[in-house]
Symmetry: C2
Subunit: 166 residues, 2 copies
C-alpha cells in the first residue's frame, strides 16, 4: 500500500547509494577530490557520463573553470578516505596529501586519476544544466583506466557509512 | 597499478548498478514503464532528480510529449518484472498488464505510480539536456509515496541479473 510522505522522508529509501569520486584541478594544477552519489552514465555513442555538483562546492568552481573532470569508482579499503573527502573542503586541505589516495597523470585532461580506484574515466565537459542548487555537468569520456588489483565498488549505506557489495 | 583500457571495457566495472523504473503516459492515458540504471538526484532545494533516456525509446517520446514522469525504486521480488520491462517495448505491450506491477494514481501528474515499488517520486520536467544518444530529463519532484511493506532496493549485478543489497 502506497502512502504519501514528505519528499525528505522518501529519500531515506534510496540506500545503498552508489558513490563515485570526481577529481578536478585549480589553476596551479593542484588536484581535488569530491565524493558524489549523484552520478550517471548518459550516452553510449559517444560515451558520456554526468555528475551533479552543488553550486557552493569548491569542485563546482574548478570544473566550471577547467571544463574537465575525472570520475573514479572507489573500492573497498577506501571507505575512510571517501568519508574524509566528503567532509572536508579542498579550499582548506589537500585531499591527496591527507588521504591514502594517490594522484596519477591522466592522458587527456589535467585532472588527476586516482590510483586506488577500480576505474577512472577522463571527461571533458560537453554540456551543463542548472538544476536548483546543483549543476549537471555532462562529460564526454575521452579515456578510461582500470586497476585490476582493486576490490569491489563501495556504496553509501546511509549516513556516510560505506560498504562493498557485489 | 592503473592500466588504460577501452571505455567499453572500463564500464564493466560499474556493477552492481542501481536500477529505477520510470513511468510515463501516452495521449490516451495508458501508462508505460522503463527500467533505467541512469538516474540521479540533482537538487535538494527544490528537490529534483534526473534520468537519461535513449532517443529511440518509447518512454523518450512519452516524457517529451507529456512533460512528466514518475521515478520508482523497485524492490526485491520484482526482479523478473524489471527484466521484462527492460526487454520489451511499450510500443508493443502493456507492461502493467504483462507484469506483477500495479498502477496507482499519482496526485500531481498523469504518469502512474507503481504500487510494489518502495518509493515513487512524481516529477515535472524542469530542464532537458541532449547528450549524444540520450536526453537528460531533470524533473522537479512534486510528491512522494512510499510502500512500507516493500523489501530492499535491487541492483543490476551485470547482464540484467537483479539482486537486493543492503
Amino acid at each position: 500500500m502506497l502512502k504519501q510522505v514528505s519528499i525528505r522522508d522518501a529519500w531515506k529509501k534510496k540506500y545503498p547509494e552508489q558513490v563515485v569520486c570526481a577529481t578536478s584541478v585549480d589553476e596551479a594544477g593542484r588536484g581535488n577530490i569530491i565524493p558524489l552519489g549523484w552520478f550517471m552514465p548518459t550516452s553510449f555513442q559517444p560515451p558520456m557520463c554526468a555528475i551533479s555538483v552543488g553550486h557552493t562546492r569548491y569542485s563546482h568552481k574548478l570544473i566550471t573553470q577547467s571544463g574537465e573532470f575525472v570520475v573514479a569508482f572507489p573500492a573497498e579499503g577506501s571507505e575512510e578516505d571517501v568519508h574524509y573527502c566528503g567532509t572536508n573542503s579542498g579550499r582548506d586541505v589537500d585531499k591527496f596529501a591527507e588521504t591514502g589516495f594517490t594522484a596519477a597523470s591522466a592522458t587527456n585532461v589535467a585532472a588527476p586519476l586516482i590510483e586506488e580506484c577500480l576505474v577512472n574515466f577522463e571527461c571533458q565537459v560537453a554540456g551543463k544544466l542548472d538544476t536548483g542548487d546543483h549543476t549537471i555537468f555532462a562529460g564526454g569520456i575521452v579515456a578510461a583506466h582500470v586497476n585490476e588489483e582493486a576490490g569491489r565498488r563501495i556504496y553509501n549505506t546511509g549516513d556516510y557509512v560505506f560498504r562493498a557489495f557485489g
